[in-house]
């Protein structure tokens, strides 16, 4: 292991890519949250509600695990981000975690006799997680572009300059726009996943009806965020000194200077748009696969824009020189190298997830299955 000549810079880039991949899969898997957010408005009757919950609910653990692994990978590879953001933007992360606690128990408890608070309470928990989870995660990620109010001392200890401890992020309309975009994207993917997974024409028709308004509500804030970011100032770093300065059109420059990222971003957007078109106008059940690939590619490109090309991925608008880059926030060469070997098992993990997913989704969710005296949510 010690004889392997890999530079620290290569590993920092490698781990930013791994974190970005995890983030992009997390956003796609938030179709679970999107589906949950329809729990009171989509189903026409109790049976359809049960079908929706059991369709998206059987993947809740996977989304949850991806979030936990995303956090763990960030901790391992960029611990200064973990310490700075979680310690400073306290209330944002606590609110996100709070909503995920609600989700974890809601599925298992909602339909069980003796659950004390009644099914409706746990359904409200699912709604809260479905709405707050994507909205807050999107808002938090937007601060990668707009900056946060923190400073670090010489021992890298964080001081947050706002007594709102992260909640002040919602006062920037660009942050809110990405939060809303992620929320409505999760809803769109949730609807498409339900359309593809249930064998119930009425429920599919209802989902399709909701798809158009939600697609528009996704596209408007998404386009606003992208345009606002591309044409505003960004946080540039000087690779020789590590100092951070504001640069006009920084993220537009990043897009132009990294043509591969531009291609990935455009491929992502086109895939999402084509998926919406295929579902809305050609009534394709499998449109989710187009939008999911699109989601993964677009989110991945957004993370590349935030961290690559001498950019601060977690900038401080309060004290520019405290901004975090993939250079100054990363783990040591040894740790990143060790972790790289661990990451080699990721393809194996993806393979068994795919196999288990395929085995479980081979039959669609039906009314008959819901009526069976089997384990269900």
């Amino acid at each position: 292991m010690t004889t392997l000549m890999i530079s620290h810079l290569f590993l920092q880039n490698y781990w930013w890519i791994i974190v970005s991949v995890l983030a992009s899969f997390l956003v796609f898997l938030m179709f679970v949250q999107g589906g949950q957010s329809f729990i009171f408005t989509l189903p026409g009757n109790e049976m359809q509600k049960t079908m929706i919950v059991n369709t998206v609910g059987r993947k809740w653990d996977l989304t949850f695990t991806t979030l936990v692994t995303f956090g763990g990978a960030f901790f391992a590879s960029f611990p200064l981000f973990y310490a700075t953001s979680f310690g400073g933007a306290y209330w944002v992360w606590i609110a996100i975690l709070f909503s995920f606690i609600l989700q974890a128990v809601a599925y298992e408890f909602r339909s069980k006799p003796g659950n004390v608070f009644g099914q409706k309470t746990f359904d409200i928990f699912l709604l809260l997680n479905g709405a707050l989870g994507p909205l807050l995660i999107g808002t938090a990620v937007a601060t990668f572009f707009t900056g946060s109010r923190f400073s670090l001392d010489e021992m890298n200890r964080v001081t947050w300059a706002s007594s709102w401890y992260g909640l002040e992020a919602v006062t920037d309309v660009r942050n809110l726009a990405l939060g809303l975009a992620v929320f409505y994207l999760a809803r769109v993917n949730g609807l498409l996943y339900i359309i593809n997974s249930v064998d119930d024409e009425d429920l599919k028709a209802r989902s399709l009806k909701k798809l158009l308004p939600n697609s528009i509500l996704f596209l408007v804030p998404f386009l606003f965020f992208v345009i606002a970011i591309l044409f505003s100032e960004g946080f540039a770093t000087d690779p020789s000194t590590g100092s951070v300065s504001m640069e006009k059109y920084k993220y537009l420059h990043n897009l132009i200077q990294m043509p591969l990222v531009l291609i990935i971003f455009l491929a992502g957007v086109v895939n999402v748009l084509y998926g919406l078109y295929a579902a809305l106008f050609r009534k394709k059940n499998g449109a989710i696969w187009c939008t999911s690939i699109g989601t993964i590619l677009a989110v991945f490109a957004i993370f590349m824009l935030a961290g690559f090309n001498n950019t601060s991925f977690y900038p401080s608008s309060h004290d520019l020189q405290s901004s975090l880059t993939i250079r100054n926030a990363s783990s040591s060469l040894f740790t990143l190298k060790t972790m790289m070997f661990v990451s080699f098992i990721v393809p194996f993990v993806i393979a068994y997830i795919w196999y288990a997913w395929k085995s479980m989704n081979i039959n669609k969710i039906t009314v008959d299955e819901m009526n069976l005296n089997e384990h269900k949510y």
């Binding site: 956090g71 391992a76 700075t84 979680f86 060790t338 997830i353 089997e374």
Partner: protein
């Protein structure tokens, strides 16, 4: 390093983490053990084709699912609280601590979360064999999750395999294998999972006993008891063995904790092992802190010396030796350690000033100092002492540490008796007639929960004031945020966890009362 941190903040941050950990640990051990018990039961079903075993498997699997969900819910908070409430710690050791957490996610959590869906919903969707493999993978995944977080915790108790980098002001990993095979981590993992196996076995025994008391599901209950008692007795032996090994390791790497476990105020040769005792306040004190004496005790002479060094005449240091030092026994005093820690800290501050002032010659020479082996072994290893104000701060809560240790051990031995008696009654065919014993099994259900929580109280209370042994006290690790925020989230989590616990227990009771499905 603690100059601007208020004590209210430290106290509430500790309280919040303790609250989360205690709640989390109410659910995790059952997941660890029940996952294997269910896997064994399903194996018996697949091998025999007997539908009775399928019914048994599915009943316990349902209880597993209810418990699993709430364990996951409380677990996510723990992971992120390292960042939200202990951000200085997260940076200081993130280079080492983060890696096991990430491996945990990649290796264990995905295994668990992928196959749990197959386990619950796949009975009619996948083959019998694939289903069985999924159930085993859930068990393996659950227990692997425990491995990585315990490796991280073991490192906090005994930091190994790292070097301090003054440039980044943090510890950095230099040997992954040293971190992974740290003796504390190995002991901790084996002891913890075996305590989970033991707890789940008592849980299954108790619930099965209830069915027999109610004269319901006799075959189901006896078969469940058989699996649980065999699994439980094996787990108990493993638990006792690893507990013993754990105590020996603590004696070496955390001697103050070890002395507190035995309430050993003054060191002695031919030291006896206290089987049980009652403490009273001593007239001896360190600084302002009174120590403890025994009101009465049952002691096994010479056994403590024997246990720690394999020699009856070996000297076991007491709390006073470890705080004031003992030249004859070559034990350094707190004052000496503090002086050395302060020198290490001053070297770091000088280094940082040299960097700020652009004094490259001084910067490079001080950087070299941090690379010296002798500086690390004689000075930097006491770095944390610079942040500890008084000698008495080194002493953990003696009563809490002593009682949690002894009650845990006593309960551990009681469980061996419980499993042995169950097997005796099962093989004699007298289990249904021995109603007193069935009541005993039922009433024993809370005991392993108490023992298990006491184990963590011992581990975490006994290591105070350290978050990382000798390197960082808890007070230096806390996130510098308003204490009002932490107080608010403490009560939010307390209310939420308690609410969910009530719901969980109620659902469990309802499921148990409805019995296995036919």
């Amino acid at each position: 390093m603690t100059e601007n941190i208020d004590l209210t903040l430290i106290g509430w941050s500790r309280a919040q983490f303790a609250l989360t950990a205690i709640y989390h640990w109410l659910f995790v051990p059952l997941t660890l053990g029940l996952s294997f018990i269910v896997a064994i039961m399903e194996t018996l079903y697949v091998r025999s084709g007997n539908e009775e075993w399928k019914k048994i498997t599915r009943f316990w699997m349902t209880l597993f699912g209810i418990n699993f969900a709430i364990g996951v819910a409380t677990g996510i908070i723990l992971e992120f609280e390292f960042g939200t409430n202990w951000s200085n710690y997260s940076w200081f050791v993130g280079d080492i601590f983060g890696a096991p957490l990430a491996v945990e996610g990649i290796v264990a959590f995905f295994l668990e979360s992928t196959f749990i869906a197959v386990m619950f919903f796949g009975w009619n969707k996948v083959s019998r064999k694939f289903h069985l493999i999924s159930t085993w993978l859930v068990a393996v995944g659950s227990n692997l999750s425990a491995l990585w977080i315990l490796v991280a915790n073991g490192w906090m108790q005994n930091p190994v395999g790292m070097a301090f980098n003054p440039e980044t002001a943090r510890n950095e990993m230099v040997s992954f294998w040293e971190v992974l095979f740290n003796q504390v981590a190995v002991d901790k993992f084996l002891h913890t999972i075996s305590s989970g196996f033991l707890l789940a076995s008592v849980f299954v025994l108790g619930i099965s006993a209830w069915f027999l008391l109610k004269k319901r599901e006799s075959s189901f209950a006896r078969r469940s008891m058989l699996v649980a008692s065999v699994f439980g007795i094996l787990a108990s032996f493993m638990n006792a063995y690893t507990g013993d090994s754990s105590a020996r390791t603590i004696a070496k790497v955390q001697p103050v904790k070890f002395a507190a476990m035995e309430a050993l105020t003054e060191g002695k040769t031919n030291a006896g092992l206290v089987a049980f005792g009652v403490l009273k306040e001593s007239e001896n004190k360190v600084g302002e802190k009174y120590l403890k004496d025994f009101l009465f005790k049952i002691e096994l002479p010479g056994l403590l010396s024997m246990m720690t060094s394999g020699d009856r005449d070996a000297y076991v240091p007491g709390v006073i030796d470890l705080v004031h030092g003992n030249r004859d026994r070559n034990i350094m005093s707190f004052d000496e350690k503090k002086t050395r820690g302060e020198l290490a800290r001053k070297t770091l501050i000088d280094y940082k000033n040299a960097v700020k002032e652009g004094n490259t010659a001084l910067r490079d020479s001080l950087k070299n100092v941090f690379a010296e082996k002798s500086f690390n072994s004689e000075y930097f290893r006491f770095f944390g002492y610079a942040s500890v104000e008084k000698a008495e701060d080194l002493i953990p809560d003696l009563s809490g540490t002593f009682y949690s240790f002894h009650l845990m051990v006593i309960l551990g031995f009681a469980f061996i008796m419980l499993f042995a008696l169950t097997l005796y009654h099962l093989f004699r065919g007298t289990i249904e007639k021995a109603r007193w014993f069935l009541w005993l099994c039922l009433l024993s259900i809370p005991l392993p929960y108490i023992a298990s929580e006491l184990g963590w109280v011992l581990a975490e209370l006994g290591r105070q004031p350290w978050i990382i042994q000798d390197l960082m006290p808890v007070s230096a690790a806390v996130t510098n945020i308003g204490s009002g925020s932490v107080i608010a989230t403490f009560f939010i989590f307390a209310a939420l966890f308690t609410t969910l616990l009530i719901a969980e227990v109620s659902i469990m009771v309802k499921q148990i009362k409805s019995g296995p499905k036919h």
